[in-house]
């Protein structure tokens, strides 16, 4: 970790940098990139609320990573890396709007409060931001394919290359799908919000549908396929678990989690050594994943109690 780097090293011409320090700096970079990957969705969510544009939010998040890669090897990884990254990205957003304002006074057009300084501090309500991001990326204005791709990109934090591999399409095609989806959102002026009432119920069912589509895409993959495909099951389950905390009073969410955990618990028993499918009644039950069954039943109980 960067925080533990040793005594200062004498400066040497790059040709003579020891293997040790190269390895250390690589490890630091990997650690920073890992932190960024873990925090990315929260940064994009906060910045989307701030800028009203997922595209700009992603760009600013990327800039924040570059700032972290420049600063953290010296200062160490901060205690609250997520807050650091969001603050850094917000400063850049403010600079961006100032330039835009000076250029053509468009700030009001963008719907941004002129008093941008007041918005510079990270606030609570991070959970609502994440939920808002899920609602945006699963908006009904998008096709089901586009919703899945955008959700994996923005909320899951997967790279375009990983999503492309999981869906067995070229990276260029997936990049196009994501760009088009973002354009559709901006053309339709989709607001960044957590809707209420019947609207919320409808929009939530769209989110659940997307998660189940992603889960099924991975579940239908057989052994021997690229590891990214089964990974889709894990990612759908992870996003479902996240959603359960963001919308704990919606029984449907717990219901979907129960379905995914219990279905997934059978994955290890579902195929034989050659990868041929084994029917449910012929499966060896000891191969079922009992931790997932336990989690599935707990989610079911929650769904019933909600």
């Amino acid at each position: 970790m960067a925080a533990n780097h040793g005594p200062p090293q004498p400066t040497m011409p790059t040709d003579f940098v020891s293997d040790d320090s190269v390895a250390r700096s690589r490890a630091t970079h990997r650690a920073i990139e890992t932190v960024f990957r873990m925090e990315r969705a929260r940064i994009v969510a906060a910045l989307t609320r701030f800028t009203r544009s997922v595209d700009l939010a992603e760009e600013l998040a990327q800039d924040a990573l570059i700032a972290a890669l420049r600063n953290w090897p010296v200062s160490g990884i901060p205690d609250k890396p997520g807050a650091w990254l969001i603050t850094s990205a917000r400063r850049r957003a403010i600079d961006h709007f100032r330039r835009a304002k000076m250029a053509n006074g468009k700030l009001a057009l963008l719907g941004i409060d002129a008093d941008v300084e007041a918005m510079a501090e990270p606030e609570d309500g991070m959970g609502d931001d994440m939920l808002g991001l899920m609602f945006v990326s699963c908006h009904p204005v998008l096709s089901p394919d586009a919703r899945a791709a955008l959700t994996l990109r923005l909320v899951g934090g997967l790279t375009t290359e990983e999503i492309a591999r999981a869906y067995l399409v070229s990276e260029a095609a997936m990049a196009q799908r994501i760009i088009r989806a973002k354009r559709t959102l901006s053309d339709a002026c989709v607001p960044f919000e957590v809707p209420a009432g019947q609207d919320r119920a409808d929009r939530l069912s769209s989110v659940l549908e997307v998660l189940y589509l992603v889960f099924n895409e991975g579940y239908s993959a057989t052994r021997g396929d690229d590891w990214m495909r089964p990974q889709l099951c894990q990612e759908a389950m992870r996003l479902g678990r996240m959603l359960a905390l963001l919308a704990p009073n919606d029984a449907e969410v717990h219901g979907l989690i129960a379905l995914m955990e219990i279905q997934a618990s059978r994955l290890p028993a579902r195929t034989d050594a050659e990868g041929k499918p084994i029917l449910l009644l012929d499966q060896i039950r000891s191969r079922w994943d009992h931790l997932l069954i336990k989690r599935g039943l707990a989610a079911l109980a929650k769904a019933e109690a909600t």
């Binding site: 890992t34 990974q231 894990q234 678990r241 996240m242 290890p268 191969r287 931790l291």
Partner: protein, 137 residues
């Protein structure tokens, strides 16, 4: 990939001293973060070894010994299981773990087995039938 954070026992945990409210609160915050990130699978504290027992196989003989056991530092007091995409992510989560003991705490991080990691063999098939080590999905 799944990782288990093994929380080592301490004098206090072995004496059955319940953790103070601040520690429980810090643990709840941390596990809340794991849950919010969707990576928390399971976790629990363990009662002192005085309430447990050991079974030892030695020289073809099996013996049962009641707790408590003396080697406190080798005992465990709890565990947390997470599922993440990379080893680096597990390292980062582990770094954020609060000190689990009143005084000197220690956690040990172990990756859980995934049979898919092995080349197929007759032995692995038998392990599989024991229903252990399932990381997929």
């Amino acid at each position: 990939m799944r990782f288990m954070f093994v929380i080592k026992a301490s004098k206090d945990s072995e004496a059955g001293v319940m953790p103070p409210a601040e520690m429980i609160s810090a643990m709840a915050d941390y596990h809340g973060e794991l849950a919010k990130a969707g990576v928390l699978l399971d976790g629990s504290g363990l009662q002192p070894s005085s309430k447990g027992w050991r079974i030892t196989w030695s020289g073809g003989k099996k013996t049962i010994t009641d707790g408590p056991f003396a080697e406190t530092k080798e005992l465990i007091a709890g565990y947390t299981i997470i599922q993440v995409k990379t080893r680096e992510e597990a390292m980062e989560w582990a770094n954020r773990f609060p000190n689990p003991q009143i005084e000197n705490g220690q956690i040990e991080i172990r990756q859980m087995f995934d049979l898919e990691d092995f080349e197929p063999s007759e032995g692995i098939d038998r392990f599989r039938e024991m229903g252990i080590a399932q990381d997929r999905p």
